[in-house]
C-alpha cells in the first residue's frame, strides 16, 4: 500500500484516531478490496462513521466518496450516527420471533420511548433489532453491548434497563 499522506479533516473528531486509522490503512498489503475492513476499523475507533471519517477513508485509499457512502449505507452493521453508551439489541431472528421477541422489542421501545435505531435523549441507550445472534437455544434473546440475556420475559425488560441505569449513576 503506497503511503498516501492525507490530512485529517478539521473537525471535532479526535485527531489521534485519524492517525491510528491512517497507520492501520498503511499497514495493509493493499487497500484494493479492503474497504469493508477499513470501515470496520474506523467504526471501532470512532464508534460510528461520520461524514469526515468516510471522506478521509475515500481520499486515503483513492476511491470516490460516493462509493464509500454506497457501501456504508448498504450494510446494516455500519452506522452514521453516534450510538448511546449501551446498545440494546433485541433478536428478531425466526427462533426468537416464534418465542415472542416482537413483544419484547415492543416493550423496550415503550420503556425507552424510542424507536429502532434510535438513541435515548440521555445518550444512555441505543435500541436495535438484529437478525439472529446464533444463540437461538436461548430464545428470545436480548444482547446489551456484548452481554447476552437468554429466555427473556416481559418482566425482565425493566430489570435489564435498570441494571444499566444504576450502573451508570454510580
Amino acid at each position: 500500500m503506497p503511503n498516501v499522506q492525507i490530512e485529517p479533516p478539521h473537525s471535532d473528531l479526535p485527531r489521534e484516531k485519524f492517525e491510528q486509522l491512517s497507520s492501520y490503512i498503511d499497514s495493509l498489503d493493499t487497500a484494493r478490496g479492503a474497504l469493508i475492513e477499513i470501515l470496520h476499523k474506523a467504526q471501532d475507533l470512532f464508534g460510528y462513521l461520520p461524514r469526515d471519517v468516510q471522506l478521509f477513508v475515500a481520499r486515503k485509499i483513492g476511491i470516490p466518496a460516493a462509493e464509500v457512502f454506497g457501501v456504508v449505507t448498504f450494510y446494516s452493521y455500519f452506522t452514521t450516527s453516534p450510538k448511546g453508551k449501551h446498545t440494546i439489541s433485541v433478536c428478531m431472528g425466526t427462533a426468537c420471533f416464534v418465542k415472542g421477541s416482537d413483544e419484547i422489542f415492543q416493550a423496550f421501545k415503550e420503556k425507552l420511548n424510542i424507536n429502532s435505531q434510535e438513541t435515548t435523549k440521555d445518550g444512555l441507550f441505543t435500541l436495535n433489532n438484529v437478525r439472529c445472534i446464533g444463540a437461538c437455544g436461548l430464545a428470545p434473546v436480548v444482547m446489551v453491548d456484548e452481554k447476552v440475556y437468554g429466555k427473556v420475559t416481559l418482566e425482565d425488560v425493566e430489570h435489564i434497563i435498570n441494571t444499566y441505569r444504576k450502573e451508570d449513576s454510580i
Binding site: P64, A66, E67, G70
Partner: protein, 583 residues
C-alpha cells in the same frame, strides 16, 4: 467466425444459426424478434455497457429452466429453445413495469421527459392498463441545487445506467446506489446536493437516463422573457454541434445538416441577432495556436491541453488540482463570443452591455454552469446570460409553432457571423486540435497548407495519437474523449510519462456531437457517428477552412483586440483555474 463457433437455437419456433458469443437479445434481433429492454444499454462506440440486468423487462422463457432469464445478459447456447412471447414471459415483463409504476409519480403531462421517456413508451408497448399492485411510494426532495442538472429520485427506476456512465466511462465517481432494498436510490456521496459534489456537469448521466430522474435545468422561459422584453437586445449563438443534431427532434434523419433552417427558425423567434459560435471557435484557435507556439518557443508547460470543454475543466480542477498549469488559459468559444458581444459589438452598435442578453445554444449541460462561474461573470454584467441545450431549442421551436422541416435556409448575421471549416469541426472529437494544427502549421512554416484534412486525428477511438511534422519539428498530439480516457492521459502527465506536446480533451464520448444536451439517441450510437460525418461534410463545403483566414476575426483583432495573445486579448479571452475539493 468459423463454422464451429456457430450454434443452433430456436426463438419463438424460428430456427436460427448464430454465433456462440452473443446474447439472446442480440440473437432475437437477428430473427426480427423484438424484446423490450429498459436498463440494458450497450454503446459500442462510446464504450458504455450497462449490464446490471436489474429491470427484468427483457425476461424470456427458456425451456428447461425454472425461472425466466434476462435476454440482455444471457448468452445463447447450443440447442436453446427460447420463447419471448409466452404468456408467462409477457406477464412477468408487464409485472416489472407495473411494479416500477407503482412506485412512480405518474405525472407524464408535466414531466420533462414526456414522450421521450423509455419507461413511458414501454408501458404503452407492453399494454399496461392498470397498476394492480399499488402501495407506498418513495418520496424524495427534488435536487435543484445546481445550475445544470436536476435530480429527481422520485422518477428513478434503478437502472443504474447513470452510475455506469459516471463511474466507469467518465470515472468521476459522483453517483452511487445508496441504501438498499425498497429504500435504495441513486445519488452523490452523503446524499449532498449535486452542486456540492465534484460533478463535472458533463451531462452524460442525463443522456443515458431513461426517465426524468436526471434532466437538465430548463432555461427556456428565461429566453422567452428576454425576447419579450422590448428593452433587451437578445443575441443568440449556436455551437457547431447543434446544426447536425437538431433536425432529429423534428423527424429529420440523423446526420442531416440543418444550419440554414436553424438560423431561419431563430430569426422567426425574433432574436435580434443570430450568430455562430464558430466565430468564437476561430477566435479560440487564434489564441490557442498562439499560446501553443509561445509555450513551445519559450519553454512553457508542455503538453498544452485544450480548454474549450467546461466539464473537462471542472474535472481537472477537482481530480488533478496539481496539473492546473497544463490546460490552455483560453476561455471556451461561446464565452469568448459572449465577451466580444458585450464589448466590441456593443461599442460598435452603441448598445449598453447591460441591455444585451447573450443566449448560447449548446450541445452541452456543463456550459449552463460554466456561464455562472464567478471569474467569467465578474466584469461585464454577465458574458453569457442564458445557456440552452439543443433539446431546449427544439422545444422552443415547437412552442413557437414553427414547422421546422419546411423552413427555408438563411444565413447567420454579420459582423460576427463569418466562420470557417476549422471551427465547424470543433464539435467532434479531434476537431479542435485539427483546427489548431491548420493554423499552427502555416504560422510556424510560413507555407500554405495544401492538405488541410489531418485524417490521422479523426476517428472514434477513445484515445488517439499522431505525430505531425511541422518544419523540422515533430509535434506529438494526443486526443482523448470521455473523461475516463482523459484520466489515463492526465495520469501519464502527472507521472511524467506523457510523450505529447498538445492534447485535445473532450468530456463527452464523441465530443460535443455526443454532448449531454443533444437529442437523446436512446441507445443507438450510430446516430452520434452520423453527426460526426455531417460535421466533416460541412467543413468540406466551406470556402475558408482555416481559422486565421476568417476575415471578420482578423478585422476584430485589427479594430479592437490588438495582437493575438496580447494584453487585451489576454484580459478578455483568457481565464484561470482553481483547485477544488473532491467529493
Amino acid at each position: 467466425m468459423t463454422k464451429e463457433n456457430m450454434i443452433h437455437i430456436h426463438i419463438n419456433h424460428i430456427p436460427l444459426e448464430v454465433r456462440e458469443d452473443i446474447t439472446i437479445l442480440e440473437a432475437a434481433h437477428k430473427a426480427g424478434v423484438k424484446i423490450p429492454t429498459l436498463c440494458h444499454l450497450d454503446l459500442h462506440d462510446l464504450k458504455l455497457a450497462n449490464k446490471v440486468a436489474s429491470c427484468r423487462v427483457c425476461t424470456v422463457e427458456l425451456i428447461g429452466k425454472n425461472s425466466l432469464v434476462p435476454a440482455c445478459v444471457t448468452k445463447v447456447s447450443e440447442g436453446m429453445v427460447i420463447h419471448t412471447n409466452s404468456i408467462r414471459a409477457i406477464k412477468t415483463r408487464r409485472m416489472a413495469i407495473e411494479l416500477l409504476l407503482s412506485n412512480h409519480p405518474n405525472e407524464c403531462f408535466t414531466c420533462p421527459k414526456n414522450l421521450e421517456c423509455e419507461l413511458q413508451s414501454l408501458a404503452k408497448e407492453l399494454g399496461v392498463r392498470e397498476i394492480k399492485w399499488i402501495g407506498e411510494r418513495k418520496k424524495f426532495e427534488k435536487d435543484l441545487s445546481s445550475d445544470a442538472i436536476v435530480k429527481d429520485p422520485n422518477k428513478c427506476i434503478m437502472c443504474r445506467r447513470c452510475e455506469t456512465m459516471c463511474n466507469e466511462v467518465q470515472t468521476c465517481g459522483i453517483l452511487s446506489a445508496i441504501g438498499r432494498g425498497f429504500k435504495a436510490f441513486v445519488g452523490p456521496a452523503f446524499d449532498i446536493p449535486m452542486a456540492e459534489s465534484s460533478c463535472t456537469y458533463c451531462g452524460q448521466c442525463v443522456s443515458v437516463c431513461p426517465t426524468a430522474a436526471l434532466t437538465e435545468v430548463n432555461h427556456t422561459d428565461k429566453v422567452w422573457e428576454a425576447l419579450a422584453d422590448p428593452n433587451k437586445h437578445v443575441v443568440v449563438q449556436t455551437a457547431p454541434a447543434i446544426r447536425v443534431a437538431i433536425g432529429e427532434l423534428f423527424g429529420i434523419d440523423p446526420g442531416t445538416i440543418a444550419t440554414g433552417k436553424m438560423v431561419t427558425a431563430l430569426k422567426r423567434m425574433h432574436f435580434d441577432a443570430v450568430f455562430d459560435t464558430d466565430f468564437g471557435a476561430d477566435l479560440t484557435i487564434m489564441e490557442e495556436a498562439t499560446e501553443f507556439i509561445h509555450r513551445m518557443e519559450h519553454g512553457g508547460t508542455l503538453p498544452m491541453l485544450t480548454s474549450c470543454c467546461p466539464a473537462w475543466v471542472k474535472f481537472i480542477e477537482h481530480q488533478f488540482p496539481e496539473l492546473l498549469d497544463v490546460p490552455s488559459t483560453c476561455r471556451s468559444p461561446h464565452i469568448m463570443f459572449g465577451t466580444i458581444v458585450k464589448t466590441y459589438y456593443a461599442q460598435k452598435y452603441n448598445l449598453d452591455p447591460k441591455n444585451i442578453v447573450v443566449v448560447s445554444v449548446m450541445p452541452c449541460i456543463a456550459k449552463k454552469a460554466e456561464a455562472k462561474r464567478p471569474e467569467l461573470t465578474k466584469d461585464y454584467n454577465t458574458d453569457v446570460d442564458i445557456v440552452i441545450t439543443t433539446r431546449e431549442l427544439g422545444a422552443m421551436i415547437k412552442e413557437a409553432g414553427i414547422d421546422f422541416k419546411s423552413l427555408p435556409d438563411s444565413e447567420f448575421d454579420h459582423p460576427l457571423g463569418e466562420t470557417t471549416g476549422a471551427s465547424v469541426i470543433f464539435g467532434t472529437t479531434g476537431g479542435v486540435i485539427e483546427a489548431a494544427m491548420r493554423t499552427a502549421y502555416e504560422w510556424i512554416t510560413g507555407e500554405e497548407l495544401k492538405e488541410v484534412e489531418f485524417t490521422q486525428l479523426r476517428g472514434m477511438e477513445g484515445i488517439r495519437e499522431a505525430t505531425i511534422k511541422i518544419k523540422d519539428q515533430n509535434v506529438r498530439i494526443g486526443i482523448a474523449h470521455g473523461l475516463g480516457n482523459a484520466r489515463i492521459i492526465l495520469e501519464k502527465i502527472r507521472d511524467g510519462k506523457s510523450p505529447y506536446d498538445a492534447i485535445e480533451i473532450m468530456a463527452c464520448p464523441g465530443g460535443c456531437i455526443g454532448g449531454g444536451g443533444q437529442p437523446f439517441h436512446h441507445g443507438n450510437d450510430v446516430i452520434v457517428k452520423k453527426r460526426q460525418q455531417a460535421l466533416y461534410e460541412e467543413d468540406r463545403n466551406k470556402k475558408i477552412r482555416k481559422s486565421h483566414e476568417n476575415a471578420e476575426v482578423l478585422k476584430l483583432y485589427k479594430e479592437f483586440l490588438g495582437q493575438p495573445y496580447g494584453e487585451k486579448a489576454h484580459r478578455l479571452l483568457h481565464t484561470h483555474y482553481e483547485k477544488k475539493d473532491r467529493i
